[in-house]
Symmetry: C2
Subunit: 388 residues, 2 copies
């Protein structure tokens, strides 16, 4: 049976060419604004200039240097500056890391408890009743953070990486101008496409509960991503191709697809360990895990694998076992077509070593993953051993 | 090229069995509430009792009798009562007519101008800066009003029917409990399925602009509606079938599908005239117009007709003209499978008479319809003459 669900997503999306010019009208007239960004790529591709030009009549504070996988200690520096200067509106300019970081900053700046680390590691979220309002200017479509209420924060000093979600941290608005992606290295576009694709898979490829709408909506985004991918990677960039990639990545994780249906996320969870151990890009870990996880779990996932193969990939082979093999192979082939390897060995990683390390870490935390919560450390190790 | 667009939809959806019990927590603690409804079917099917039980600790005012195609004069009576009693939260319990009516009431109750008719017929909407907050309990899935910002209001005394849309009138929440549909007459379920289906067609079957995501999302809802329809009509009612019908109807018109793409709405516009002239149910007018409009416009709509036939209906006949014929026939066959005739003659209406009357009315108002705005009164007449 389809589960009961709540859907709520108040973020205003302003999509299209030239839309950065609209941010001044989207921010309250009297707000004291801080612009937050990452390593400075926005100063090279013209986005920083566009943002500042749009805000030219305002006094604007800045905070740069939010790193990929935003770090708790960095974010606390921003919180201090915000509190000291009386900033009351934040503008995140960047990709998922900057936006995730700003979500945490927005909550931490108004946090009534003692230690904002409790927002992530304790019961701080239940104490928080408000967050600073913020908007975003997205420059790297991938994580969907621009239209959801979740964030992942790292704390390198104690080797932790934790996530949170709260209705308080939906962006007030997000500017999605496909032209901001024109200067992205091809590798980041490839990563964004794979990340978005696997986001949908995690919310879809579990077991059927009869949710016809949610299934079709997930299949819609998967097909749109597959259709959009070749053109999105081509240079010089094409507007429609980048627009499709950008909007698909947002729609892949804006809470629509997961309503009332089971979710997996084991590929992400195992992938996070690989990033921590070997520094692989997030999307690379997904490509190196997903096909092998699907194969390892092909009996439990049979009904949805057959549906995905038939509807999304057009694989209609009569014998179920063959159809499932071909479906998983076609998924790998899609990643390969983007220039994305799908084995640990292709990334220079020994599968056996990775298997043992991930198993040890999962067992020490007593973690289990997947829609049935039955993927143990031993299972994860078996999955990783297949990735060769 | 994909058009620039804004997407904003802050309505909170609370979906599932037993969710009416949650309304008390969704309405501000100190609010003075008025419950508004239609002809009283909610008193026969248990929905009224569930609503009142959920609100039992509050003093609640009531306003019943909002008619199908809600009437301006009726709605103004509600406005008077609201203003007199200091009501500050509205709860619409019913289908699209009740919800549309409450959207107007919410605006009119706080309207700063002299005559609230200006909201519909003049520039009143630009003067309105706030509306009373309201929630909905949906009992008839069809119009999508529970998750959008539009409404259609009739004023029988001067034979007018006008629509408006405003970000001020998104429902704060909408309760979607599939079990509230169990007592619906089969004819209303049939109508709701057709209405939702044609809503999607109006936003999709125009001409391609390269919007891969929006196209796939529209196709997803069309396929979900076609999959859900037979089971949704079966008695005794099945929970999942009704849940799929309900959620598909909401997703058909919640602003998602129309972002950045052309829209048609000629079938609706011509259909409204047929309801005014002959009292046909709204969905019946859509079924009696759409197939003939598609055939009449088959050259302009060729690319999308081929895509719709191929992707949604699985029609892959090689010769384009044949494929289009079969695509339109399959659309009619879908309506027939729901027990819905697709010709004016089947409804006992003379196509020639309807053609002449609609043409006269369109020409007197100088109306033209369609994604190219090129369907004149003469074209509408030709379309209606085909409906025999």
């Amino acid at each position: 049976m389809i589960d009961n669900f709540t859907f709520y997503n108040p973020t205003k999306i302003v999509f299209g060419t030239g839309t950065i010019a609209k941010i001044n009208k989207l921010i309250p007239h009297k707000a004291k604004v801080m612009v937050l960004y990452g390593g400075g790529s926005i100063k090279k591709n013209g986005v920083y200039e566009q943002v500042m030009a749009a805000l030219k009549k305002r006094e604007v504070l800045e905070f740069g240097g939010i790193e990929a996988n935003p770090d708790y200690d960095t974010l606390l520096q921003a919180v201090k500056k915000i509190q000291k200067k009386g900033v009351n509106f934040l503008l995140a300019v960047g990709g998922g890391s900057v936006i995730d970081g700003v979500k945490f900053i927005a909550l931490a700046a108004l946090y009534p408890g003692k230690d904002p680390w409790d927002i992530l590691a304790g019961d701080g979220l239940s104490q928080a009743t408000e967050a600073l309002p913020f908007g975003t200017v997205l420059t790297l479509p991938a994580t969907g953070s621009e239209m959801n209420s979740n964030a992942v924060i790292s704390r390198r000093s104690i080797q932790e990486k934790l996530s949170f979600g709260s209705d308080l941290v939906f962006p007030r608005f997000s500017i999605l101008d496909p032209e901001t992606t024109y200067s992205l290295p091809q590798k980041q576009v490839r990563n964004g496409l794979v990340d978005a694709f696997v986001h949908v898979i995690e919310q879809y490829l579990t077991y059927p509960v009869g949710a016809l709408v949610q299934d079709r909506q997930a299949e819609a985004i998967l097909m749109a991503l597959m259709d959009a991918a070749p053109a999105a990677l081509r240079m010089p960039p094409d507007y429609n191709a980048r627009a499709n990639y950008m909007w698909a990545a947002t729609c892949a994780l804006n809470h629509t697809l997961s309503r009332g249906v089971p979710e997996d996320w084991a590929t992400h969870n195992i992938g996070h360990e690989l990033t921590a151990l070997y520094g692989l890009d997030h999307a690379e870990t997904l490509a190196a895990v997903l096909p092998w996880l699907l194969w390892y779990k092909r009996k439990q996932k049979q009904a949805k694998l057959l549906q995905y193969g038939y509807r999304v990939l057009g694989i209609k082979t009569q014998k179920y076992a063959d159809r499932i093999d071909q479906t998983i192979e076609a998924t790998s082939a899609f990643f390969h077509s983007l220039g994305m390897p799908t084995t640990l060995t292709a990334y220079g990683i020994d599968p056996e070593e990775a298997a043992q390390k991930v198993q040890a870490r999962m067992e020490s935390h007593q973690w289990t993953f997947g829609e049935h919560n039955d993927i143990t450390g031993k299972d994860a190790a078996e999955i990783l051993r297949l990735s060769r």
